[in-house]
């Protein structure tokens, strides 16, 4: 069974704080992703990584950075948290199905509130 874990289920931070969200997968997947989920907007990709130390911006990277020092771990960093970053953050890793297709497996999510 693929397991994707996230460091916290709930987090409350103050405006201006530096926030670290960590994600670990145990299936040796190369690709990992960070999304944020907001009502009515679905999931939006923040960043993804296709290998250690490799990263690529998604659709909404502003205000975020990422780090991938080890294959199993992908961290999302909010350099200076703002109230508009209050959201549910979901991490995922993906396995290759063949024929240029992948399947994503999601962690339980971190609900971040910035006050």
């Amino acid at each position: 069974d693929v397991k994707v874990t996230q460091s916290s289920r709930y987090l409350v931070k103050r405006t201006g704080e530096k926030v670290f969200l960590e994600c670990v997968q145990d299936m040796d997947h190369e690709n990992m992703f960070w999304y944020r989920q907001d009502p009515g907007l679905g999931l939006r990709l923040i960043y993804f990584s296709y290998d250690v130390k490799m990263k690529e911006k998604g659709d909404i990277p502003e205000g975020y950075s990422v780090s991938r020092e080890k294959k199993e771990r992908f961290s999302l960093i909010l350099e200076s948290a703002s109230t508009n970053q209050t959201s549910m953050y979901l991490c995922a890793s993906s396995s290759y199905l063949g024929h240029a297709a992948y399947e994503q497996y999601f962690g339980p999510g971190t609900r971040l509130t910035v006050t």
């Binding site: 993804f48 297709a101 999510g109």
Partner: protein, 112 residues
């Protein structure tokens, strides 16, 4: 830019009746995914559709893909309360390294 549109965004179902959720997308792709999310929980994979005409079924749910029409449907047969959840479709653009573009989700509530 790939756009993925789901409709309806909210669906109130009566138990025992049949319903369909539609997922339209704006660019060529033959890889489409359906996920389910229960309140407060993460996303669970339901179906992976990898070719034109693909049809997958699991219990009361059936998903199909028409790549020429850029349309996928999720059909629910004889709805039951346990199917209350939010359903997302997601499309993988060509050469996307596994990136997915998600629809906004369809919130389904099944009542007696």
């Amino acid at each position: 830019e790939l756009k993925v549109e789901q409709n309806p965004l909210f669906l109130s179902m009566q138990e025992g009746k049949n319903y369909t959720i539609y997922c339209n997308y704006s660019t060529t792709s033959d890889r489409l995914y359906w996920y389910r999310q229960d309140p407060g929980k993460s996303l669970e994979s339901l179906f992976v559709l990898l070719s034109n005409g693909a049809v997958k079924q699991e219990g009361r749910l059936m998903a199909s893909l028409d790549t020429k029409a850029r349309l996928s449907t999720l059909h629910i047969t004889a709805a039951v309360h346990d199917l209350s959840a939010t359903y997302f479709c997601a499309v993988a653009p060509t050469d996307s390294w596994g990136k997915l573009q998600f629809g906004a989700g369809t919130q389904v509530v099944v009542t007696p």
